[in-house]
């Protein structure tokens, strides 16, 4: 395949950055999107140009490290991670525009690499169950209804890639946050901290500069794991229950 790539190049956090066009030939339809970028980088190195920086690690769709906006869509045209997107989803001769996640809480580090540590800070605010090592009762001490366990699992599938933020016209991290709140809130183990968790996480989210949710649903359409929008509603329900704003 032959492709025209327009890629965001930015030397560092302070560089204003620019779109640069590269023509690439000899791309296999069976290669993944990132392998296509690998090939481009090999060609750039051969020409003495610095390769395009992009994040990736597991390349099997689970670590959440990869992610670029392809032709205006977070992770590209298929509902999967960038690493699992394959070139057969494109046509020979296509022009492909590649940009980093755009959100002010995710500043660009270089080219297509952004800093997503804001997500870690949201988890630090309360996205956990306080259970010190060694203090746990037997795993069968608390049965969990299967439906609750399944819903918790569904929400726990979030890989923290940030596509929800990238796709959201408001730059909101509500889907990420709602997924964690739903995961922990569905389980009996998560109840003692449930109210405090939702308040602390949403306050941290807003403080970090993410936008608010207007329920457009772009996040769930971009989510490679298909986290449903109802986790956001669950978060709102929990917030109401926790008496947010009435303290």
């Amino acid at each position: 395949m032959k492709l025209a790539l327009k890629i965001w190049r930015q030397d560092g956090p302070k560089d204003p950055g620019r779109m640069t066009r590269y023509d690439i030939d000899g791309v296999s339809e069976d290669s993944s999107f990132l392998e296509m970028l690998d090939l481009l980088n090999e060609q750039l190195i051969a020409k003495g140009e610095e390769p395009v920086a992009f994040d990736s690690d597991c390349r099997e769709g689970i670590c959440g490290m990869c992610g670029v906006v392809i032709n205006g869509e977070a992770h590209g045209p298929e509902r999967t991670t960038t690493c699992q997107l394959h070139m057969r989803s494109f046509k020979d001769g296509d022009e492909i525009v590649i940009e980093p996640w755009r959100a002010d809480p995710f500043p660009v580090i270089k080219d297509l690499v952004v800093d997503r540590s804001a997500f870690d800070r949201i988890i630090q605010a309360g996205g956990f169950i306080s259970a010190n090592t060694g203090s746990a009762p037997d795993a069968h001490a608390t049965p969990v209804p299967k439906d609750d366990a399944d819903r918790a699992f569904m929400a726990a599938e979030c890989i923290g890639c940030g596509a929800c933020v990238a796709a959201c016209p408001n730059g909101s991290g509500s889907l990420f946050m709602g997924a964690k709140i739903t995961h922990l809130g569905e389980l009996p183990q998560g109840q003692p901290e449930r109210d405090a968790r939702v308040i602390a996480m949403t306050e941290e989210h807003d403080h970090l500069g993410f936008g608010g949710c207007t329920n457009l649903g772009e996040c769930t359409r971009a989510c490679p794991k298909g986290i449903p929008l109802n986790v956001i509603s669950q978060m709102n329900a929990d917030l109401r229950h926790a008496g947010y704003g009435r303290r």
């Binding site: 525009v97 002010d104 796709a167 016209p169 329920n215 956001i232």
Partner: protein, 209 residues
């Protein structure tokens, strides 16, 4: 935003009920209009309830707009560098239209108040009764057209607004519930739009005189 939005929906339903009175004849409509002013008399002075409602609605409006503007501002700050390429055809058109559509509705409401509440704007000779004003306005095709456009905007706003309000109130807790909410938002929006458009068309087509 959700709470004030739902208050507006309640208001719209009552307003719609009142409008439909005109189908029973101008007298019934005028009687209803008069009754709003005198409800609770003599315990409450004339227009007392009306003003309470007006102030309540105005406060809701301020809160609603203030929330919207805050969200809009946060969204702007959350993405100061825009994408070079936007996803073609993202989202539902009516959901995207919340902000500009909301502004359009706000302008219409001002127009509407100037037209039928303060009578600053008239569509012809000044008429002494509420029913007379309504009949005069909607016997002209462009009068109806203005209200049709406004109602379409209101319908779109409600379609996403009801969905969003249910989300914000935490009612969407499963995929099945999401479908129910979608259904209710379509149903309520349709009832309101159709309910509001029946009188103008009835008047235009000469069914009410």
């Amino acid at each position: 935003m959700a709470v004030t939005g739902l208050l507006f929906i309640g208001f719209l339903l009552v307003h719609m009920y009142g409008n439909l009175m005109i189908l029973l004849g101008p007298e019934a409509f005028d009687e209803y209009a008069e009754h709003i002013r005198t409800v609770g008399e003599p315990m409450i002075p004339e227009k007392g309830v009306l003003w309470v409602l007006r102030i309540g609605l105005l406060a809701s409006l301020v809160l609603h707009v203030w929330s919207a503007v805050t969200l809009w501002g946060r969204a702007g700050k959350a993405r100061t560098t825009r994408y070079v390429m936007k996803r073609p055809g993202y989202g539902n058109f009516y959901a995207k239209a919340m902000r500009w559509g909301g502004l359009a509705i706000l302008l219409f409401v001002i127009f509407h108040l100037l037209h039928l509440t303060t009578h600053t704007i008239t569509f012809g000779e000044p008429e002494p009764t509420p029913a007379g004003r309504v009949l005069e306005s909607f016997s002209q095709w462009w009068g109806v057209l203005i209200y049709v456009v406004a109602m379409v905007a209101v319908g779109m706003h409600l379609l996403h607004g009801i969905w969003g309000a249910c989300m914000t109130l935490g009612l969407n807790t499963s995929l099945k519930r999401a479908e129910q909410i979608r259904f209710v938002s379509i149903l309520v929006s349709t009832i309101i739009v159709v309910g509001f458009l029946i009188p103008p068309f009835a008047i235009l087509l000469g069914l009410v005189k």
